[in-house]
Symmetry: C2
Subunit: 285 residues, 2 copies
């Protein structure tokens, strides 16, 4: 079973958390740093709730991503990350707007609670799977799924899927302590380019997850291609991590019914084309 | 509302008809001529019913399409269409296998009956649309939808969407008689490269359809791009005809709730990449 969050509002699971955060804090202004799906999701959630939203994005962000935040009514603050980190810019904004809530894309109990709705939905499937596989970046999705399954008293194993290039979560699980990547991982799965798990997420993951499968960049690309050609599903590279995990470690899944969480579908057309054709576009094309 | 047949068995609406035909004829061997979705769908339907299936395809067919028929257990008969037409080859096979049923991809009451299930499903939507837009090639899909909606006593208008390059159905409707294209239309919507409507379909369409919107090749491409970028839906060009119709004739749809039938999702990665990036790949890349 593919649990496709590609058709969620704003095209990824991030809307679950963004909506929950925006609806449950009393603040009328929310600020976040996100170049990706959380920024879009928060902007849209705030527009539905008639709240305001500032999204800090690097000046190098893809035009379509900046436009998407603006279309949902979000204010985009561009930051030159060569000169100032996104965290610094968020801090400055928090001083200028002391009434604002600083929303973390993944390290907040409200994020886990928001994402838990996906776990509850999976537990209600007519054919309940034996195991759920979910991408791991900051860990908010998998922690939410674990909580949702627990809320539903569904005894379903949860397995993580993480890029080998940014395997802080798998290493943390082996070491039994929260470890970090030293630099932002250069994985094609941009939703998993996080330095470490959120603390709240780690406390859930360390108790409930036995296995985080580390997948190669090529297996991520191959999974995007498979979902394109065999499933007619358009996924972003991060969304293909779960299928990549199944292909990488068939021994973990053999003979079991598996639900792969496809976390999102937002991907630049040029990158997607390069992946599905298996060829790089020449420079400047 | 998008009615997505991209997730139907074998990736297009054709399975509805193929399954119905294969299940309702007493023959154990079925023969069809199809380089596209119907061949795959019939092969799969026959495999489920433990029947045999021969699919006549041009030698120039894409490798992936030939492989897809074979993977479903179909026997592929390649024909060099420079030397012999597909119809001739089918006729030869019908003489060699007199016990076989020759299955038309679109001109057969069983095809209409099979496709009518989609009309019944649309009539059961919680928010019933005012109008359904469906691609028109041989006309089996739109005729089936009309029949299904009539079966359900749902008063929903049905509008057709056809490539301007192969506008035999629109011209037929204006002339009130069944007209043909003189040559196979060179539209990118390969599911609509038919010479004319099936006779059974025409008798339904002429009574029930007031409007067939003719769409340009560029609007088909633009619709594939829109569905990719705004909907995360992977569609084949033929599947985007209905959205192209809405964009081409907003006056027909303004103020009404519209259900666009996305008829299928099977498209070659190279062609899809060319469409979504808006650029042709250089020769040989």
């Amino acid at each position: 079973v593919l649990a496709c969050e590609t058709f969620q509002h704003t095209g990824s699971f991030k809307f679950r958390a963004a909506q929950h955060v925006a609806a449950h804090v009393p603040h009328n202004l929310l600020i976040t740093a996100s170049s990706g799906n959380f920024g879009q999701a928060l902007a849209y959630a705030c527009s539905l709730l008639r709240k305001s939203c500032i999204v800090v994005m690097p000046v190098t962000s893809a035009r379509v991503k900046i436009d998407a935040v603006r279309e949902h009514g979000g204010v985009v603050e561009l930051v030159d990350t060569q000169r100032k980190s996104r965290a610094e810019r968020v801090h400055e904004l928090s001083l200028r707007y002391p009434e604002a809530y600083i929303a973390s894309p993944y390290d907040d109990p409200l994020v886990i609670e928001g994402n838990s709705s996906l776990g509850r939905e999976i537990s209600q499937l007519r054919d309940r799977p034996d195991v759920v596989v979910a991408p791991v970046g900051g860990g908010g999705l998998i922690a939410g799924i674990i909580k949702g399954l627990a809320d539903s008293k569904a005894e379903i194993e949860v397995v993580g899927a993480e890029p080998l290039l940014g395997n802080d979560a798998a290493r943390s699980l082996r070491a039994r302590e929260l470890l970090q990547n030293t630099t932002e991982p250069a994985t094609i799965a941009d939703g998993a380019r996080t330095l470490s798990l959120g603390k709240h997420n780690w406390s859930i993951i360390r108790e409930a997850v036995r296995e985080i499968v580390e997948v190669s960049e090529e297996s991520i690309r191959e999974s995007v291609r498979l979902l394109f050609s065999l499933g007619n599903v358009k996924v972003e590279p991060t969304g293909a991590l779960s299928v990549a995990a199944v292909m990488t470690r068939p021994d973990v899944f053999r003979g079991r019914s598996v639900c792969c969480v496809i976390s999102g579908g937002n991907v630049d057309p040029a990158i997607y084309s390069e992946i599905i054709t298996g060829r790089s576009l020449p420079q400047g094309l």
